[in-house]
């Protein structure tokens, strides 16, 4: 399992309407993303900053036999990968939370997959929770957030991944962010003293 050919076949099957292909596809993508993330920890400081290519792109290049792959497959892959990224990140955030509660003082050791600053785990979990609520109200918006926020996809890529127009993505991304932020509420903080 896990060869480029398998992934391409699964993607093609999914594109033909075989929904259960997704169940097999997700773990492959998931593993690949974790692997890249672990490796990339040591390369991200180079000239190619993390912003220039998302993990999702890199996973695609590694996993998919591109000569055999249709354009739509790439789009489907991007969406799958974004969902996988969400799972990885939230998983990590939960683990940090647990360790912190049980583990006493001190920041966490760095050998863990370090995809986000430990300090923001709580916020990430809050966003995820709000995103759950958003999905219950409007699934399209939550998919847009998965692609743009967790997957790091551009507007164009998100539009392709979800088969909607870029204008819809932009609008939805704006509305979703405004709504999620409202759900999070402001933080109190001591006003600086003069």
């Amino acid at each position: 399992m896990g060869t480029a050919a398998d992934v391409t076949t699964l993607l093609a099957a999914f594109a033909r309407g075989k929904r259960e292909a997704a169940d097999e596809l997700i773990p492959l993508v998931y593993d690949e993303l974790r692997k890249i993330a672990r490796l990339r920890r040591f390369r991200w400081s180079g000239p190619h900053s993390p912003g220039t290519t998302s993990l999702v792109h890199e996973a695609y290049v590694n996993l998919v036999d591109q000569s055999r792959c249709q354009w739509e497959d790439r789009s489907h892959f991007f969406y799958f990968a974004s969902v996988a990224m969400r799972n990885i990140l939230i998983d990590n955030a939960r683990r940090w939370g647990r360790q912190k509660r049980g583990g006493g003082a001190g920041e966490l050791p760095l050998e863990h997959l370090h995809l986000a600053s430990v300090g923001r785990a709580e916020e990430l979990l809050a966003v995820d929770e709000a995103l759950g609520k958003l999905g219950a109200n409007n699934q399209r918006l939550s998919q847009i957030v998965e692609c743009r926020f967790f997957g790091g996809l551009t507007v164009e890529e998100t539009a392709q991944a979800l088969s909607i127009s870029p204008a819809t993505v932009k609008r939805g991304w704006d509305s979703a962010r405004a709504w999620l932020f409202k759900e999070l509420g402001p933080l109190p903080s001591e006003a600086p003293e003069q």
Binding site: L115, R120, G152, A178, F181, G185, P186, S189, P192, Q194
Partner: protein, 960 residues
């Protein structure tokens, strides 16, 4: 697709509203929501904070994809690598132990170029590491415009230490001077600033030990920067770090380490004798020698032994002789003829160089400042100290300084003896005074003769118009009378200055100064007064460096002519202190203020306005360094003097009232502060409407009200201050930044976060421009912006800013200052929200500092107590939390009025704590009344209200 019709409606209205301009939103929502107020409220909340939402997701998203710990392999190409929050652009230098890179900030916050010095891998022997760290520590003690400033420091991923310096885009001293063909005079002026930078290091007990032209850069703005403290050492008196070598290191030269540069090293360095500040005086002498002659004081080539003999036993040839070696080229590079160059260099400059380069350290100038001063005296045509003081020499100097006056005197009075020439000048001056009086009266008649037909009869002409016309007439007229012209310009400038019209005031002062300088007869005291007043305008314009320069020059003249104990000398000294104070150079300011106060107290017969100034200056310094209790009596003394001097309505009285009010407010005595503040404003509205000083007063009252939580009355005052400052000061004035800062804090407190962010960013931009290195205003700007971003949930940016602000405050004030505590508390609060354990340490340190530095019961102590108490409570230690929260509540009950939210917050926290301790009966009433107060003040949706509500709900569910 699942979904709910209400949600789709919400979305539809939100998106439609977003397409409309914000001013239409309220009406639009009203019409589209059909009286569904819950829906309207929800959309309104989304709209109000949508920009914040976008920024928050950008910030968090960037953090998710942020690089892990950086790798830095210096063996390979480093362009684009990150070091701390900087991105390397290119390598700019490489030495024995480290490499220096040009880098840029990489957090999108500021455009700032820096130089980063990193130890090269494989070179981190213990000695190298020690020296590297010593350089970093030494730089952290120095804060001078002539020394490249330390901005930051840390260790790379591999554990290699680095530090970040101000990047100087410039050329080495000699290259810069030669390329620009700088004349001797300009070279000497540059040299004076080099000496000042060295003097600053000496005052901080640091000897550079490796002064040479290559270690001095001239920036593109023409400012010098002293670099490379790589072999500098702390002088005795500095507490040596355990195991650290503070010796002379002479042995290292032989083992090949670059510890000194042989051609520039002083004899005592060759001999391995103790290195003192005199070593740097020798180094400066070498720099001066080369700057003037293009040659080094010891031969360039030759064997080691030749070099040693030259350094230890041969006196360098006079600098004017050395310059003859390539005289054509030297003259061309200094823009003069060979003959002129020889004349310029021989005499004083020969002697000055010889004294600085003396083999015996004790016979050199006793300090870098003395050397600089002697050059300045030479430039002013005064006798230099380097020469034995013979009478003939002094007389020659006197004649050349007063060339024009002496010649006239000789012609008019036929004075024979040299020693009567001073008298002769006096009589010439008497005649001149008579002429001057006549010319002035003519000019004034001329001014009042209105030639404009529209203004001919009856029409009132404003003071401003009168002034403008007068100024124009003076500029063009009186061509043959530079002396009178200068005096009149000076008078006009004073009027402009008093009206708060700084740019014309400054122009006129500068013109009169230039005129006075051009006329050799100008008596020193007029010039000094002119310089002093120009310094005042520059100070009021926020140009503190220039201002300090003028005051320094004025002070030199007054010291020389009037002596140290004269009140005018003390007055200039006070203002020089003030300019240093504004620059943030507190060390330079303090002795100046203290000296002036003691001189003036002794000289005092009647109430003395200068004494009031000096007292105020010293008080402000104490205030800035957190010593409020020391500031208060000084200000009360100054206030009393000014009431006696000026009666009830005078701007300076208002200033003191203002200052005293600020001190009282910082001591937590808000009720004593406010009436003083109001008195100040009433005075200024009467005597200085629309004046920048009025802006200061309204701003301060705004602050006092804000500290009490009275935002509604504070806001219009702060806005009035900003509008005056925008109107009357240029858009880059530090005071404008301060106003924006305060307004930003108010906006943050009242939930208008985007406006707050904009205000803080503008403020930060202004202060960064004014103060490129460490400065309290920059620190405050960073901290305030960080705090706003924290409220906006942009924690990544916020943390960087708060940490930077904290580091800067430690560098500026040491670890025990209340501002360090403020920064710690803000950072702790951010960490607390992220549930990060660093919060506790930071709270504790903040609390410890505040308990020590502030009077018991100060409201700021309560902030730290509430933070730490809640942290302990949330982390399972209610026992420890209880006394802290109880103390906080007591303080807040004393500080704030009955229904204040601050009291509610403390009540709710203490209630939760008691509940956790199973003291349910005590907890109930506190939880309830805390919630009520928060709900009344902040509304039900506020995070603090919700927190208090959930605490009460939990308690009720379990017990009540």
């Amino acid at each position: 697709m699942n979904g709910s019709p209400q949600f789709d409606r919400l979305l539809e209205i939100f998106e439609a509203a977003l397409d409309r301009p914000p001013e239409q939103w309220t009406a639009f929502l009203e019409s589209r929501c059909d009286g569904d107020s819950a829906l309207r409220h929800e959309v309104a909340r989304m709209l109000a904070r949508h920009r914040q939402a976008f920024a928050f997701f950008d910030d968090l998203g960037a953090d998710l994809r942020r690089a892990g710990p950086e790798e830095l392999d210096l063996g390979q190409s480093v362009e684009g690598r990150r070091i701390g929050s900087y991105r390397v652009v290119r390598e700019i230098g490489r030495g024995g132990m480290g490499a220096v890179y040009l880098a840029e900030r990489d957090d999108g916050q500021f455009q700032q170029q820096v130089a980063i010095k990193v130890i090269r891998p494989g070179r981190q022997s213990e000695a190298v590491l020690r020296r590297f760290l010593a350089e970093r520590r030494i730089l952290s003690q120095l804060n001078h415009p002539g020394i490249a400033r330390l901005l930051d420091g840390g260790a790379t991923q591999e554990g290699l230490p680095y530090f970040v310096l101000e990047y100087v885009d410039g050329l080495p001293l000699l290259d810069d001077c030669d390329r620009q063909c700088l004349p001797v005079k300009e070279r000497l002026r540059l040299f004076i600033s080099v000496a000042a930078a060295v003097e600053h290091a000496h005052r901080n007990l640091v000897v550079h030990r490796d002064l040479k032209p290559g270690n001095i850069l001239v920036s593109s703005q023409g400012e010098i920067k002293l670099l490379d403290f790589g072999i500098a050492k702390p002088l005795a008196g500095e507490r040596p770090i355990a195991g650290e070598d503070t010796g002379a290191d002479a042995g290292d030269t032989l083992t090949g380490h670059r510890v000194l540069t042989p051609q520039y090293a002083a004899p005592e360095q060759w001999l391995g004798k103790p290195v003192t500040t005199a070593t740097d005086v020798y180094g400066l002498g070498g720099v001066l020698y080369e700057l003037l002659s293009g040659e080094r004081p010891v031969p360039k080539a030759g064997s080691w032994e030749d070099l040693e003999r030259a350094v230890l036993h041969q006196d360098p040839e006079p600098v004017s002789t050395a310059a003859r070696r390539s005289i054509e080229q030297n003259a061309k590079r200094r823009g003069v003829s060979p003959t002129t160059l020889c004349r310029l260099l021989s005499g004083d400059l020969d002697t000055i160089c010889a004294k600085a380069l003396h083999k015996d350290p004790d016979r050199r100038y006793s300090s870098a400042a003395d050397l600089g001063d002697d050059i300045r005296r030479h430039l002013d045509g005064l006798p230099v100290l380097a020469r034995p003081d013979s009478r003939g020499y002094r007389a020659r100097k006197f004649v050349s300084r007063h060339k024009w006056g002496v010649a006239t005197a000789v012609a008019a009075v036929l004075a024979a003896a040299v020693f009567s020439s001073a008298l002769a000048i006096q009589s010439v001056r008497l005649t001149a005074e008579r002429d001057k009086a006549r010319q002035v009266s003519e000019l004034f008649v001329d001014l009042f003769t209105v030639s404009d037909p529209d203004l001919g009869t009856g029409a009132q002409i404003t003071a401003r118009e009168f002034l403008d016309r007068g100024a124009a007439k003076i500029q063009t007229g009186l061509a043959g009378q530079p002396d009178i012209k200068a005096g009149l310009m000076d008078v006009m400038a004073r009027v402009y200055h008093k009206l708060g019209l700084y740019p014309p005031a400054r122009r006129l002062y500068e013109s009169s100064l230039a005129l006075r300088r051009s006329v050799a007869t100008s008596p020193g005291l007029d010039l000094a007064a002119n310089l002093h007043r120009l310094g005042l305008v520059l100070h009021d314009q926020g140009n503190y460096n220039e201002s300090a320069r003028r005051f320094q020059e004025a002070l030199d003249v007054r010291r020389r002519v009037l002596g140290l104990a004269h009140p005018d000398t003390a007055a200039t000294q006070t203002y020089l202190g003030l300019a240093h104070f504004r620059k943030g150079d507190y060390d330079a300011a303090q002795p100046l203020f203290e000296g002036a106060v003691s001189v003036l107290r002794r000289a005092r017969t009647a109430p003395d306005p200068h004494l009031a100034d000096a007292l105020t200056g010293l008080a402000m310094l104490h205030y800035a360094q957190g010593r409020f209790a020391e500031a208060e009596p000084l200000l009360r003394e100054s206030l009393q003097l000014r009431r006696q001097l000026f009666g009830p309505s005078h701007q300076q009285l208002a200033d003191t009232l203002n200052n005293l009010a600020s001190v009282l407010s910082r001591m937590g005595k808000a009720s004593e502060s406010e009436p003083l503040q109001r008195e100040a404003i009433a005075i200024l509205r009467k005597v200085r409407p629309g004046h920048p000083k009025l802006a200061t007063a309204v701003n301060n009252l705004g602050l006092v009200l804000m500290a009490r939580g009275d935002f509604d009355r504070a806001e219009p005052l702060l806005r009035e201050g900003i509008s005056i400052r925008r109107d009357r000061l240029d858009g880059q004035h530090p005071d404008l930044a301060q106003s924006l800062n305060n307004l930003g804090v108010l906006l943050q407190n009242t939930g208008r976060l985007e406006e707050a962010e904009a205000a803080q960013r503008e403020a930060l931009r202004i202060v960064r421009k004014n103060f490129p290195g460490d400065h309290v205003a920059v620190m405050r700007g960073l901290g305030n912006l960080g705090s706003v971003l924290h409220s906006m949930r942009r924690s990544a940016q916020s943390e960087r800013l708060l940490a930077e602000s904290l580091a800067m405050s430690r560098r500026l004030f040491g670890d025990a200052h209340p501002l360090v505590a403020t920064n710690l508390n803000n950072l702790a609060s951010l960490l607390h929200d992220g549930k990060r354990p660093g919060a506790e340490t930071a709270y504790r340190e903040a609390l410890a500092i505040r308990r020590k530095a502030l009077p018991a019961g100060h409201p700021h102590i309560a902030y730290a107590l509430v933070g730490l108490g809640q942290w302990l409570l949330e982390n399972g230690d209610p026992m420890q939390a209880e006394p802290l929260l109880r103390e906080a509540l007591e303080i807040r009950r004393k500080t704030f009025s009955g229904g204040a939210a601050e009291i509610g917050e403390a009540e709710s926290a203490l209630g939760a704590c008691l509940f956790a301790l199973k003291r349910h009966a005590e907890a109930g009433p506190l939880l309830t009344s805390g919630l009520e107060k928060l709900r009344a003040r902040h509304g039900p949706g506020h995070r603090l209200t919700r927190k208090a509500a959930s605490r009460l709900a939990r308690a009720s569910a379990r017990n009540l």
